[in-house]
Protein backbone atom coordinates (compact mmCIF):
# COMPACT_ATOMS: atom_id res chain seq x y z
CA UNK A 1 0.00 0.00 0.00
CA UNK A 2 2.71 2.46 1.06
CA UNK A 3 4.87 1.25 -1.84
CA UNK A 4 2.07 2.01 -4.29
CA UNK A 5 1.66 5.45 -2.81
CA UNK A 6 5.41 6.06 -3.07
CA UNK A 7 5.50 4.89 -6.68
CA UNK A 8 2.57 7.10 -7.63
CA UNK A 9 4.11 10.07 -5.87
CA UNK A 10 7.51 9.58 -7.55
CA UNK A 11 5.83 9.30 -10.97
CA UNK A 12 3.81 12.47 -10.37
CA UNK A 13 6.89 14.34 -9.25
CA UNK A 14 8.86 13.18 -12.28
CA UNK A 15 6.04 14.35 -14.54
CA UNK A 16 6.05 17.76 -12.83
CA UNK A 17 9.80 18.06 -12.30
CA UNK A 18 9.83 21.40 -14.14
CA UNK A 19 7.99 23.10 -11.28
CA UNK A 20 10.55 22.07 -8.67
CA UNK A 21 13.40 22.82 -11.04
CA UNK A 22 12.16 26.34 -11.81
CA UNK A 23 11.31 27.24 -8.22
CA UNK A 24 14.75 26.13 -6.99
CA UNK A 25 16.58 27.86 -9.86
CA UNK A 26 14.75 31.11 -9.15
CA UNK A 27 14.86 31.12 -5.35
CA UNK A 28 18.05 29.30 -4.33
CA UNK A 29 21.11 31.37 -3.60
CA UNK A 30 23.75 28.75 -4.35
CA UNK A 31 24.13 25.18 -5.59
CA UNK A 32 24.12 23.83 -2.01
CA UNK A 33 21.08 25.92 -1.25
CA UNK A 34 19.35 24.68 -4.41
CA UNK A 35 19.94 21.11 -3.24
CA UNK A 36 18.56 21.95 0.23
CA UNK A 37 15.53 23.70 -1.18
CA UNK A 38 14.80 20.92 -3.69
CA UNK A 39 14.86 18.29 -0.96
CA UNK A 40 12.77 20.43 1.36
CA UNK A 41 10.11 20.88 -1.36
CA UNK A 42 10.04 17.13 -2.00
CA UNK A 43 9.85 16.43 1.74
CA UNK A 44 6.97 18.89 2.24
CA UNK A 45 5.13 17.49 -0.80
CA UNK A 46 5.56 13.89 0.39
CA UNK A 47 4.40 14.84 3.88
CA UNK A 48 1.28 16.53 2.51
CA UNK A 49 0.61 13.99 -0.24
CA UNK A 50 -1.78 11.80 1.80
CA UNK A 51 -4.01 14.88 2.16
CA UNK A 52 -4.03 15.54 -1.59
CA UNK A 53 -7.55 14.68 -2.68
CA UNK A 54 -7.32 15.83 -6.28
CA UNK A 55 -9.57 18.87 -5.82
CA UNK A 56 -7.02 20.86 -7.82
CA UNK A 57 -4.54 19.71 -10.47
CA UNK A 58 -1.45 18.03 -9.01
CA UNK A 59 0.73 20.64 -10.74
CA UNK A 60 -1.12 23.51 -8.99
CA UNK A 61 -0.91 21.72 -5.65
CA UNK A 62 2.81 21.08 -6.12
CA UNK A 63 3.46 24.65 -7.27
CA UNK A 64 1.78 25.93 -4.13
CA UNK A 65 3.90 23.69 -1.89
CA UNK A 66 7.08 24.56 -3.78
CA UNK A 67 6.42 28.30 -3.48
CA UNK A 68 5.36 28.06 0.17
CA UNK A 69 8.54 26.15 0.90
CA UNK A 70 10.74 28.55 -1.08
CA UNK A 71 9.29 31.57 0.70
CA UNK A 72 9.72 30.06 4.16
CA UNK A 73 13.16 28.68 3.34
CA UNK A 74 16.24 30.33 4.73
CA UNK A 75 19.52 29.72 3.01
CA UNK A 76 22.60 29.34 5.14
CA UNK A 77 24.09 32.84 5.37
CA UNK A 78 27.64 31.98 4.43
CA UNK A 79 26.54 30.11 1.33
CA UNK A 80 24.21 32.87 0.23
CA UNK A 81 26.93 35.49 0.64
CA UNK A 82 29.86 33.72 -0.91
CA UNK A 83 28.50 32.01 -4.00
CA UNK A 84 27.39 34.01 -7.01
CA UNK A 85 24.15 33.44 -8.90
CA UNK A 86 25.86 31.82 -11.86
CA UNK A 87 26.91 28.88 -9.75
CA UNK A 88 23.37 27.72 -9.01
CA UNK A 89 23.91 24.44 -10.77
CA UNK A 90 21.11 22.35 -12.14
CA UNK A 91 21.00 18.76 -13.29
CA UNK A 92 20.27 19.99 -16.75
CA UNK A 93 23.17 22.12 -17.86
CA UNK A 94 21.87 22.35 -21.38
CA UNK A 95 19.46 25.26 -21.10
CA UNK A 96 19.72 27.62 -24.04
CA UNK A 97 21.05 31.14 -23.59
CA UNK A 98 17.59 32.68 -23.83
CA UNK A 99 16.30 30.47 -21.02
CA UNK A 100 19.32 31.18 -18.85
CA UNK A 101 18.85 34.88 -19.49
CA UNK A 102 15.20 34.66 -18.51
CA UNK A 103 16.13 32.90 -15.29
CA UNK A 104 18.76 35.55 -14.62
CA UNK A 105 16.25 38.38 -15.06
CA UNK A 106 13.57 36.76 -12.93
CA UNK A 107 16.11 36.16 -10.16
CA UNK A 108 16.59 39.92 -9.95
CA UNK A 109 13.02 40.50 -8.78
CA UNK A 110 12.06 40.42 -5.10
CA UNK A 111 10.67 37.18 -3.68
CA UNK A 112 7.00 38.18 -4.06
CA UNK A 113 7.51 39.40 -7.62
CA UNK A 114 9.30 36.17 -8.54
CA UNK A 115 6.25 34.21 -7.40
CA UNK A 116 3.84 36.30 -9.46
CA UNK A 117 5.85 36.29 -12.68
CA UNK A 118 6.60 32.55 -12.46
CA UNK A 119 2.93 31.64 -12.10
CA UNK A 120 1.96 34.08 -14.85
CA UNK A 121 4.51 32.64 -17.27
CA UNK A 122 3.22 29.16 -16.49
CA UNK A 123 -0.25 30.23 -17.62
CA UNK A 124 -2.00 30.82 -14.29
CA UNK A 125 -4.75 33.46 -14.33
CA UNK A 126 -4.64 36.49 -12.04
CA UNK A 127 -7.42 34.85 -9.99
CA UNK A 128 -5.30 31.74 -9.45
CA UNK A 129 -2.21 33.77 -8.63
CA UNK A 130 -4.19 35.84 -6.12
CA UNK A 131 -5.44 32.64 -4.49
CA UNK A 132 -1.97 31.08 -4.28
CA UNK A 133 -0.26 34.26 -3.06
CA UNK A 134 -3.06 35.28 -0.69
CA UNK A 135 -3.41 38.81 -2.07
CA UNK A 136 -6.19 40.49 -4.06
CA UNK A 137 -6.65 40.11 -7.82
CA UNK A 138 -6.18 43.86 -8.33
CA UNK A 139 -2.96 43.76 -6.38
CA UNK A 140 -1.72 40.93 -8.61
CA UNK A 141 -2.64 42.92 -11.74
CA UNK A 142 -0.78 46.03 -10.54
CA UNK A 143 2.31 44.06 -9.56
CA UNK A 144 2.27 42.04 -12.77
CA UNK A 145 2.07 45.17 -14.88
CA UNK A 146 5.14 46.58 -13.13
CA UNK A 147 7.05 43.31 -13.38
CA UNK A 148 6.34 43.02 -17.10
CA UNK A 149 7.58 46.57 -17.63
CA UNK A 150 10.82 45.82 -15.80
CA UNK A 151 11.28 42.56 -17.69
CA UNK A 152 10.64 44.25 -21.05
CA UNK A 153 13.13 46.97 -20.16
CA UNK A 154 15.79 44.41 -19.28
CA UNK A 155 15.24 42.52 -22.51
CA UNK A 156 15.29 45.76 -24.52
CA UNK A 157 18.58 46.75 -22.91
CA UNK A 158 19.97 43.33 -23.74
CA UNK A 159 18.82 43.62 -27.38
CA UNK A 160 20.31 47.10 -27.69
CA UNK A 161 23.51 45.83 -26.10
CA UNK A 162 23.86 43.19 -28.79
Amino acid sequence: MKEDLEKKFVALLEANAGIIYKVTRIYAGSSDDAEDLRQEVIYQAWRSYPRFKGESKFSTWLYKIALNTALTHKAKEEKRRSIPEQSVISHSETLSDSKELLIKYIRQFNDAEKLIIMLHLDGYSNDDIALIAGISKNHVAVKLHRIKEKLALNLKEKTNGN
Binding site: K22, I42, S48, R51, N68, L102, V142
Partner: protein
Protein backbone atom coordinates in the same frame (compact mmCIF):
# COMPACT_ATOMS: atom_id res chain seq x y z
CA UNK B 1 12.51 36.14 -27.31
CA UNK B 2 9.12 34.63 -26.68
CA UNK B 3 9.21 34.76 -22.92
CA UNK B 4 6.28 32.50 -22.09
CA UNK B 5 7.27 29.72 -24.46
CA UNK B 6 10.90 29.84 -23.31
CA UNK B 7 9.76 29.55 -19.74
CA UNK B 8 7.33 26.72 -20.40
CA UNK B 9 9.78 24.82 -22.57
CA UNK B 10 12.02 24.39 -19.54
CA UNK B 11 9.56 21.77 -18.30
CA UNK B 12 10.49 19.59 -21.26
CA UNK B 13 14.19 19.46 -20.43
CA UNK B 14 15.51 16.05 -19.40
CA UNK B 15 16.85 15.04 -15.99
CA UNK B 16 15.40 18.02 -14.18
CA UNK B 17 14.76 15.82 -11.17
CA UNK B 18 16.47 12.49 -10.61
CA UNK B 19 14.71 9.56 -8.94
CA UNK B 20 17.51 9.44 -6.36
CA UNK B 21 16.85 13.06 -5.43
CA UNK B 22 13.15 12.37 -4.97
CA UNK B 23 13.84 9.42 -2.68
CA UNK B 24 16.36 11.45 -0.72
CA UNK B 25 13.91 14.32 -0.29
CA UNK B 26 11.10 12.01 0.80
CA UNK B 27 13.20 10.71 3.66
CA UNK B 28 14.89 13.98 4.54
CA UNK B 29 16.51 14.02 7.96
CA UNK B 30 17.57 17.65 7.94
CA UNK B 31 15.15 19.94 9.77
CA UNK B 32 14.03 23.40 8.78
CA UNK B 33 13.55 26.14 11.38
CA UNK B 34 9.91 25.29 12.15
CA UNK B 35 10.53 21.56 12.53
CA UNK B 36 13.42 22.39 14.87
CA UNK B 37 11.12 24.64 16.89
CA UNK B 38 8.42 21.97 17.08
CA UNK B 39 10.99 19.38 18.07
CA UNK B 40 12.19 21.70 20.83
CA UNK B 41 8.59 22.01 22.01
CA UNK B 42 8.19 18.22 21.94
CA UNK B 43 11.32 17.84 24.07
CA UNK B 44 9.96 20.41 26.50
CA UNK B 45 6.69 18.47 26.78
CA UNK B 46 8.58 15.23 27.44
CA UNK B 47 10.90 16.91 29.94
CA UNK B 48 8.00 18.56 31.80
CA UNK B 49 5.96 15.34 31.84
CA UNK B 50 8.89 13.36 33.26
CA UNK B 51 9.91 15.85 35.94
CA UNK B 52 6.52 17.08 37.18
CA UNK B 53 5.88 13.99 39.39
CA UNK B 54 9.19 14.65 41.14
CA UNK B 55 7.95 18.04 42.35
CA UNK B 56 4.95 16.37 43.94
CA UNK B 57 7.28 13.81 45.46
CA UNK B 58 9.30 16.67 46.91
CA UNK B 59 6.16 17.94 48.69
CA UNK B 60 6.20 14.71 50.70
CA UNK B 61 9.95 14.66 51.27
CA UNK B 62 10.54 18.25 52.29
CA UNK B 63 9.64 18.94 55.91
CA UNK B 64 9.07 22.69 55.98
CA UNK B 65 5.74 24.22 55.13
CA UNK B 66 7.35 26.90 52.93
CA UNK B 67 9.13 24.18 50.96
CA UNK B 68 5.90 22.20 50.55
CA UNK B 69 4.08 25.32 49.32
CA UNK B 70 6.87 26.17 46.86
CA UNK B 71 7.00 22.67 45.40
CA UNK B 72 3.20 22.54 45.18
CA UNK B 73 3.26 25.80 43.22
CA UNK B 74 6.03 24.54 40.90
CA UNK B 75 4.19 21.25 40.36
CA UNK B 76 0.93 23.01 39.48
CA UNK B 77 2.78 25.46 37.31
CA UNK B 78 4.38 22.59 35.40
CA UNK B 79 0.99 20.99 34.81
CA UNK B 80 -0.33 24.29 33.44
CA UNK B 81 2.81 24.66 31.30
CA UNK B 82 2.37 21.13 30.03
CA UNK B 83 -1.21 21.89 28.94
CA UNK B 84 -0.09 25.06 27.10
CA UNK B 85 2.90 23.34 25.49
CA UNK B 86 0.75 20.42 24.27
CA UNK B 87 -1.86 22.84 22.92
CA UNK B 88 0.75 24.86 21.06
CA UNK B 89 2.39 21.68 19.74
CA UNK B 90 -0.91 20.36 18.40
CA UNK B 91 -1.65 23.65 16.66
CA UNK B 92 1.84 23.63 15.11
CA UNK B 93 1.55 20.01 13.97
CA UNK B 94 -1.89 20.55 12.43
CA UNK B 95 -0.53 23.40 10.30
CA UNK B 96 -0.77 22.33 6.66
CA UNK B 97 0.98 24.61 4.14
CA UNK B 98 -0.45 22.68 1.18
CA UNK B 99 -3.93 24.01 1.98
CA UNK B 100 -2.92 27.63 2.49
CA UNK B 101 -1.85 30.65 0.52
CA UNK B 102 1.74 31.88 0.70
CA UNK B 103 0.64 34.85 2.81
CA UNK B 104 -1.20 32.60 5.28
CA UNK B 105 1.82 30.31 5.54
CA UNK B 106 4.19 33.22 6.20
CA UNK B 107 1.82 34.60 8.85
CA UNK B 108 1.35 31.14 10.35
CA UNK B 109 5.09 30.52 10.62
CA UNK B 110 5.64 33.90 12.25
CA UNK B 111 2.80 33.35 14.69
CA UNK B 112 4.08 29.90 15.60
CA UNK B 113 7.57 31.20 16.35
CA UNK B 114 6.39 34.25 18.29
CA UNK B 115 3.82 32.32 20.35
CA UNK B 116 6.15 29.44 21.23
CA UNK B 117 9.07 31.68 22.12
CA UNK B 118 6.86 34.04 24.17
CA UNK B 119 5.32 31.09 26.01
CA UNK B 120 8.75 29.69 26.88
CA UNK B 121 10.12 33.04 28.00
CA UNK B 122 7.14 33.94 30.18
CA UNK B 123 7.01 30.48 31.73
CA UNK B 124 10.70 30.76 32.54
CA UNK B 125 10.36 34.23 34.04
CA UNK B 126 7.63 33.08 36.40
CA UNK B 127 9.32 29.84 37.27
CA UNK B 128 12.91 30.96 37.97
CA UNK B 129 12.24 32.65 41.37
CA UNK B 130 10.05 29.82 42.63
CA UNK B 131 12.39 27.09 41.41
CA UNK B 132 15.35 28.92 42.95
CA UNK B 133 13.56 29.37 46.28
CA UNK B 134 12.38 25.77 46.32
CA UNK B 135 15.90 24.50 45.68
CA UNK B 136 17.28 26.72 48.41
CA UNK B 137 14.65 25.66 50.95
CA UNK B 138 15.12 22.02 49.97
CA UNK B 139 18.89 22.29 50.59
CA UNK B 140 18.37 23.95 53.97
CA UNK B 141 15.80 21.36 54.88
CA UNK B 142 18.02 18.44 53.88
CA UNK B 143 20.93 19.93 55.82
CA UNK B 144 18.67 20.22 58.88
CA UNK B 145 19.24 23.98 59.03
CA UNK B 146 15.67 25.09 58.54
CA UNK B 147 15.07 26.13 62.17
CA UNK B 148 18.37 27.99 62.25
CA UNK B 149 17.51 29.72 58.98
CA UNK B 150 14.15 30.88 60.32
CA UNK B 151 16.01 32.87 62.97
CA UNK B 152 18.59 34.39 60.63
CA UNK B 153 17.22 37.01 58.23
CA UNK B 154 20.56 37.22 56.39
CA UNK B 155 20.02 33.69 55.03
CA UNK B 156 16.80 34.87 53.39
CA UNK B 157 18.47 38.07 52.27
CA UNK B 158 21.06 35.98 50.39
CA UNK B 159 18.23 34.11 48.67
CA UNK B 160 16.46 37.35 47.78
CA UNK B 161 19.59 38.96 46.33
CA UNK B 162 20.45 35.81 44.40
CA UNK B 163 16.95 35.66 42.93
CA UNK B 164 17.03 39.34 42.03
CA UNK B 165 20.20 38.72 40.05
CA UNK B 166 19.47 35.28 38.64
CA UNK B 167 15.85 35.88 37.48
CA UNK B 168 16.41 38.80 35.11
CA UNK B 169 19.76 37.35 34.04
CA UNK B 170 18.20 33.99 33.08
CA UNK B 171 15.29 35.76 31.40
CA UNK B 172 17.52 37.97 29.28
CA UNK B 173 19.81 35.08 28.47
CA UNK B 174 16.81 33.07 27.20
CA UNK B 175 15.61 36.10 25.22
CA UNK B 176 19.06 36.63 23.74
CA UNK B 177 19.36 32.96 22.77
CA UNK B 178 15.94 33.01 21.11
CA UNK B 179 16.81 36.21 19.30
CA UNK B 180 20.07 34.70 18.10
CA UNK B 181 18.24 31.60 16.87
CA UNK B 182 15.14 33.12 15.30
CA UNK B 183 15.59 36.86 14.67
CA UNK B 184 17.19 36.63 11.21
CA UNK B 185 14.56 34.06 10.18
CA UNK B 186 11.56 36.07 11.41
CA UNK B 187 13.04 39.19 9.78
CA UNK B 188 13.21 37.29 6.49
CA UNK B 189 9.59 36.10 6.78
CA UNK B 190 8.44 39.62 7.68
CA UNK B 191 10.32 41.06 4.72
CA UNK B 192 8.64 38.60 2.34
CA UNK B 193 5.25 39.33 3.85
CA UNK B 194 5.86 43.06 3.34
CA UNK B 195 6.87 42.39 -0.27
CA UNK B 196 3.56 40.62 -0.87
CA UNK B 197 1.61 43.52 0.65
CA UNK B 198 3.52 46.45 -0.86
CA UNK B 199 1.93 48.31 -3.73
Amino acid sequence: MEIKSSWQEMDKEENLLLKGDIKKGMHLKKEDMIRKLNKRLAWKIAFTAIFTPFYFLAIIIVASLIGKALFAFIGLFHILGLIFFIRQYRIAKAFDPSQMSVKQVLQGYLENIHKTVRLEERAGLLLYPFAGSAGYVFSLSQAGKMDEAMEKPEIWLILLVTLLIITPLSHYLAKWLNKKTFKSYTDLLEMRLAQLDEN
